[in-house]
């Protein structure tokens, strides 16, 4: 993984000291809250419903075990013993004290981490594929490019005060795990007919109150021009993006109002000038960064699954975990192991300090001391020997991290909701927990199969509700929590925005409504047909009918 050089160390240390002074001036009353707020936000410190919240960047979701231990120590020392992994591969602490934040940032800096650009109208933490470098079908390692973009965008003077926040995702695999089409800029690594690596560049995707799927602004951008092309897009957006209305300030609105063709012409014109300025990286720099993402010391192993098959047969729960949570690896004898942070009744994405420490130890023993955070709020061990999977699962299961539910209905993406967030209109986590309990029977979940369910507590959509096969949006209706149901969303390469299925449900009704949708699917699906395919074949009609007409019928 990337290692800080002297410049990086000095830069982050300097920021910590700056912030220490700023906090001191705030506490002494020298700075008002209006003066201090932009400064704390530049360091990832929000004020939420119950307390401050610190959002720490995990660049493209990659963590060393040392960093994970530090996150655990911070949770234990400065917070309340847990942290929340987010849909942008970051971690949030819900209870830090303002007085302690400079020390927390100093602790983070000691393991090459920080909270810069986790808030504000700048280029946020760049996300990448959690299977980067190990997916057998991958074209190129997305982490290399995410790291380059991170370096280019860190405190970029021109792009520190954009019209609005700006999110970039990179995927290097044909199957998208990054929700790439829902980002301000989505980069899909491709190979040209000539075998050259480059990017399909999408622009203007996003969720929030105006969900949109990114449009292709360039079919193929040769890799050498990545930074100049990104800079051209950002420059056009910075000039033309709306600053008069916060809700129309994202680049998706610019794309929508200007039209992709006209925007493309402007970006290309800007890029033509910019290419000449020589901001693109020399090959040596690209090679230097790529050098940080070399393969670990894999052993030459036979691709023999016999031991694994025996264990799966002997222990059906382990068998289910392998089927749901384990993915193929490019190296014979290795596998990718997903660690679900969605145990039945847990808060999606939360991990205790003890779990973080334990996971760090397991990463050392089973996955070359590294792990990744997925935007679905789970953890990933990317390099586990197949022969070790059983031992790993047993240890995970001991700390409530062995849930075999990846990609199933209880693997819920959920924002913190009104339990923590000052923007939320309704709670998310309790709804997630009730759904998890309703579908706690794992055999039933396997029968239902692949089904994503996402929950947001407000229209800002941090819980990606539009992108879930089933989406739930919390709303305030006359002082009560209500929940709107959307169906048909999808966050992968076949991205789709879920459609609202009818009037909102009360908190008491929403879990039954989800169950009605699921039961309807089970009735109408074809053999082996996943939920999303059934929905695409039949549309909303059978679900709407089951949810509303039959209900009315029963009432009459």
């Amino acid at each position: 993984m990337y290692k800080y050089d002297d410049f990086d160390h000095a830069f982050v240390a300097e920021r910590v000291e700056q912030f220490r002074e700023q906090v001191a001036r705030r506490l002494s009353g020298e700075l008002t809250e209006d003066e201090f707020k932009p400064l704390r936000l530049m360091n990832g410190l929000y004020l939420q419903l119950h307390a401050y919240m610190l959002r720490v960047a995990i660049p493209y979701g990659l963590l060393s075990s040392t960093q994970m231990r530090k996150l655990a120590q911070i949770a234990r020392t400065y917070d309340r013993g847990y942290g929340h992994f987010t849909t942008r591969q970051n971690i949030q602490y819900n209870w830090p004290r303002l007085e302690d934040t400079p020390d927390i940032l100093e602790e983070l800096a000691s393991v090459e981490m920080h909270a810069i650009q986790t808030s504000g109208n700048c280029i946020r933490n760049v996300t990448a594929d959690q299977y980067a470098g190990v997916d057998p079908e991958e074209i190129d390692d997305s982490r290399v490019w995410a790291e380059l973009i991170r370096q280019w965008s860190s405190l970029h003077p021109e792009f520190s005060f954009l019209p609005r926040k700006f999110k970039i995702a990179v995927t290097g695999a044909p199957h998208d795990r990054t929700a790439v089409k829902f980002h301000d800029i989505g980069l899909i690594i491709k190979r040209s007919d000539a075998g050259e690596i480059g990017f399909e560049v999408l622009v203007g995707g996003g969720l929030g109150r105006t969900p949109m799927i990114g449009r292709t602004i360039r079919e193929f951008l040769p890799k050498d021009y990545l930074l100049s092309y990104l800079e051209a897009i950002l420059r056009v957006y910075n000039q033309l993006g709306r600053r008069d209305n916060k809700y129309k300030a994202r680049i998706k609105i610019l794309v929508h109002e200007t039209g992709i063709e006209e925007l493309r012409d402007m970006v290309e014109a800007e890029w033509t000038r910019m290419k000449e300025e020589g901001i693109d990286l020399p090959d040596a720099e690209l090679a230097r960064v790529r050098g940080f993402f070399t393969e670990p010391d894999y052993e030459d192993l036979p691709d023999n699954d016999q031991y694994l098959q025996v264990k799966q047969f002997e222990n059906p729960t382990f068998g289910r975990w392998v089927r749901a949570n384990v993915a193929p690896h490019k190296k014979p004898g290795y596998a990718v192991a997903n660690i679900s942070l969605k145990p039945v009744g847990g808060a999606p994405g939360d991990a205790t300090a003890a779990q973080m420490d334990a996971v760090a130890d397991l990463a050392d023993r089973y996955s070359f001391g590294e792990l990744r955070v997925a935007h679905e709020q789970n953890l990933v061990f990317a390099d586990v020997k197949k022969a070790d999977l059983y031992a790993l699962w047993k240890e995970l299961d001991d700390i409530q991290l062995g849930t075999p539910n990846l990609g199933m209905i209880s693997d819920i993406i959920s924002c913190p909701g009104l339990d923590y967030c000052s923007l939320a209109n309704a709670r998310s986590i309790p709804v997630a927990q009730r759904i998890q309990r309703r579908f706690a029977d794992i055999k039933r979940q396997f029968d239902i199969g692949a089904l994503t369910l996402n929950i947001s507590g407000c229209i800002n959509a941090c819980g990606h509700h539009h992108a879930g096969h089933i989406g739930i949006l919390g709303v305030d209706r006359k002082g009560e929590e209500y929940y709107q149901l959307t169906l048909g969303g999808s966050a992968d390469e076949n991205a789709a925005i879920g459609k609202i299925v009818g009037p909102a449900f009360s908190s008491a009704e929403i879990v039954d409504a989800v169950e009605t949708v699921v039961e309807t699917y089970l009735k109408v699906r074809n053999e082996g047909e996943p939920f999303i395919d059934t929905y695409r074949r039949l549309g909303q009609t059978p679900f709407k009918s089951a949810l509303f007409e039959e209900k009315q019928h029963a009432a009459a």
């Binding site: 004020l47 939420q48 307390a51 303002l98 986590i429 309790p430 009560e480 929590e481 879990v511």
Partner: protein
């Protein structure tokens, strides 16, 4: 009976606090200073908003009751403010220690409907 109280987050640690009768901010909502008449409400607002030790002060509406043997109980009218005052409703260990009995954060989440809080 609907009354107004002042709330904010404490500057040093962000914890939810309420303006008390002695001019100090308290973590206990039941100790909050209540304002009913328009001029009292206006005065409370000014005092809250000019306080230096808290952030983002504002007034909320609440119900006040005094059941026998329980002392005064203040409960915000809006569910958002009730969660802010008593929650979070998940993570029982971290909910406020002083909460009305009918807001039991340890209850199964399926039983926690805001209407009943």
């Amino acid at each position: 009976m609907s009354i107004h109280i002042a709330t904010a987050n404490r500057l040093t640690d962000g914890i939810v606090v309420f303006l008390g009768y002695d001019g100090e901010w308290t973590r206990h909502i039941d100790d909050a200073r209540i304002a009913e008449r328009d001029d009292d409400i206006a005065e409370l607002k000014v005092e809250a908003e000019t306080a230096k030790t808290v952030v983002g002060a504002y007034l909320i509406e609440a119900d006040v009751s005094s059941p026998e043997g329980r002392g005064r109980i203040i409960s915000p009218l809006s569910y958002k403010e009730r969660i802010r005052a008593f929650g979070p409703s998940v993570h029982p260990a971290f909910a406020k220690k002083v909460v009305p009995e009918h807001f039991d954060p340890r209850a199964d989440a399926s039983a926690v409907f805001m209407n009943g809080i």
